[in-house]
Symmetry: C2
Subunit: 358 residues, 2 copies
């Protein structure tokens, strides 16, 4: 089994902790290891043959640095010359794996998700390996715990079998609330997690069918005898990516293929979409407050605050439901319901030329 | 004219900017010079013969340091061995001045007040000098601008003369609101500013009458021929202060003397009692926000915030009426109406042994 970790994401919703050169997957939301490091550690017990980390050239150095001390499994960091969404990144990883081991099973995992029950994830991956080996595109479906309108859903055909993987009827875009409530009720709809397991040759064949242009670009890459010697890959990726369109694997392949199965899993998953998701990652105290990385937190008549400090002492007096994030050069104080507007802060800083804080 | 600046105050209401060794008078609330430095600069145009700064031995070094570059007037920093409220500090200053110039007029000013109209202060001091030379204890009474229940008041007898100084009928402790409203209405009540002007020999005589024990303690100090050579004064102060009680000049002398006059003044005065007084010192912007010492302030749907940063960029999103104070080792986020509870934060930090932040 090969693990492919998609670590090329960017984003500004965790400003000021996340920055352009240090996006969400490279920061530590729990105060210790980064999201990427936790993603790697999560799969090490599976003893994969190799881990491929696909990232962006801007973040490659920090990504390499964060992975230096994991030595039990070979880890390759592959730097894309440009961000082109998930289909090219997954295709590139599949091409590299297939050059060495065509029918190798590859697991695709985002680098910036949180999973409380890591055993459940590993068990699910092991359970789904058989379907992957048999040529299915298997996707992990998260059991919905609320009528979330911010996620895509996968409708499963659960009539035929008692256990998963189940055939996929369709992929659904972010639904309105009434529909999300119905999905929750019907029980055969799952959140689209962006986690996949399949054979390298199978996903390349599917890419060839549904995204022939991407496939022919990928086929232009020539590999040495030792495909893992990636020293000359960078130039080839740069050449190939000039012709590659930015498309997600969901849109490019999954929604079009008739070969997709979903395996439901309940594992305390969170995509940690903004600061307001911090309580999904770190258990709040009795006052509903999460406080990470403070020398001390003095709370007087305060509740529901999500605090991420930089080793400083933090005092809150008479305040409620605030996000407070302190870094050496920037400070954010935000209403907890307004976390989606943090990206506007970054836009305004850019417009004012305050690039040192971006 | 001699200027005596009382700079021995302590206090925790401006935490985390103020600390035990750096109380309010030694910090800069405006982002540039400290309250003490501004107090000195305010009186330099009066060309006083000398400025005596009475402080505490804990703060003496920082006090000396802050005054190093004022060279147009001799400044002496006198360190008390213990804090004993204002009567001993004023008595000590009077004894030093009287040893050199018995009938010298001395102005007493707190080091931690803000005065917007500095010309009005200086004009008032010049206007009141005549009454001081004639042997009165003159106190500056601030024209009240609101029915403040947190200050003491001075009732003036304004029947006899058109202009001040006026004889003082009585000193009033912090009044209930109904009474404060009546004072505002009647027009002959003024806020007790703690600013005085009198002759050194006169205040010593009054101390002898009303606080004979303090007077005899002070008289034990022996001065060299050059009284300003204060090198051996420290040991003498230490010896004398062992017997000295902690009493305010108001309680010890002013409320008991029949020799007191008040001169009303309107000068944009604030005693800057807590973070909530920041808008009295720095003009708020259109959203009612004050932001000091931030590299940049990005405000999205925010208003009424009082922000004091440490060169950092600050972003506020959807928050209102907060006090936000950031220093390299501590961060305070406080409801603007709860500023009086900041001292509780300091107490709790002390109880938790977090002494590095105190």
């Amino acid at each position: 089994m090969y693990i492919v970790i998609l670590a090329g994401g960017s984003g500004t919703r965790f400003w000021p902790l996340s920055r352009i050169a240090r996006p969400k997957q490279l920061i530590s939301l729990t105060g210790d290891r980064s999201m990427l490091q936790r993603t790697v550690e999560r799969v090490l017990p599976l003893k994969p043959k190799r881990i491929l980390v696909i990232t962006n050239h801007l973040q490659a150095e920090e990504t390499e640095h964060q992975l230096l001390h994991y030595r039990s499994v070979p880890i390759d960091v592959i730097a894309e010359s440009a961000a082109r969404n998930t289909a090219p990144a997954i295709g590139l990883a599949a091409a590299i794996i297939a050059a060495h081991d065509p029918s190798g099973v590859m697991v695709v995992l985002p680098a910036d998700h949180y999973i409380r029950d890591e055993v459940a994830l590993r068990d699910t991956l092991l359970d789904s390996r058989h379907a992957a080996q048999n040529g299915y595109l298997v996707t992990l479906g998260i059991m919905p715990s609320r009528p979330e309108t911010g996620y895509g859903y996968i409708e499963a055909d659960m009539e035929l079998r008692g256990e998963g993987p189940f055939p996929v009827k369709r992929f659904v875009e972010k639904p309105p609330l009434a529909e999300a409530l119905r999905y929750l009720d019907e029980g055969n709809y799952f959140w689209n997690s962006g986690m996949f397991i399949w054979r390298a040759d199978v996903i390349l064949r599917e890419i060839n069918t549904h995204m022939p242009s991407l496939h022919s670009s990928l086929m232009r890459i020539s590999f040495n005898d030792d495909v893992w010697a990636l020293s000359d890959l960078e130039e080839q990726i740069k050449a190939v990516y000039q012709d590659v369109e930015s498309v997600s694997i969901d849109y490019g392949v999954m929604e079009k293929s008739s070969n997709v199965q979903v395996i439901p899993v309940e594992m305390g998953w969170s995509d940690v979409g903004s600061w307001s998701a911090l309580p999904e990652v770190v258990e709040p105290d009795g006052a509903g407050t999460v406080c990470i990385n403070a020398a001390e937190h003095i709370a007087i008549d305060s509740s529901g605050c999500l605090i991420y400090a930089d080793g400083r002492t933090v005092a809150t007096v008479g305040v409620h439901n605030l996000v407070i994030v302190s870094t050496p050069d920037a400070l954010l104080v935000c209403d907890r319901e307004r976390c989606q507007d943090v990206k506007k802060v970054v836009e305004l800083l850019g417009a004012k030329g305050q690039i040192s804080c971006l």
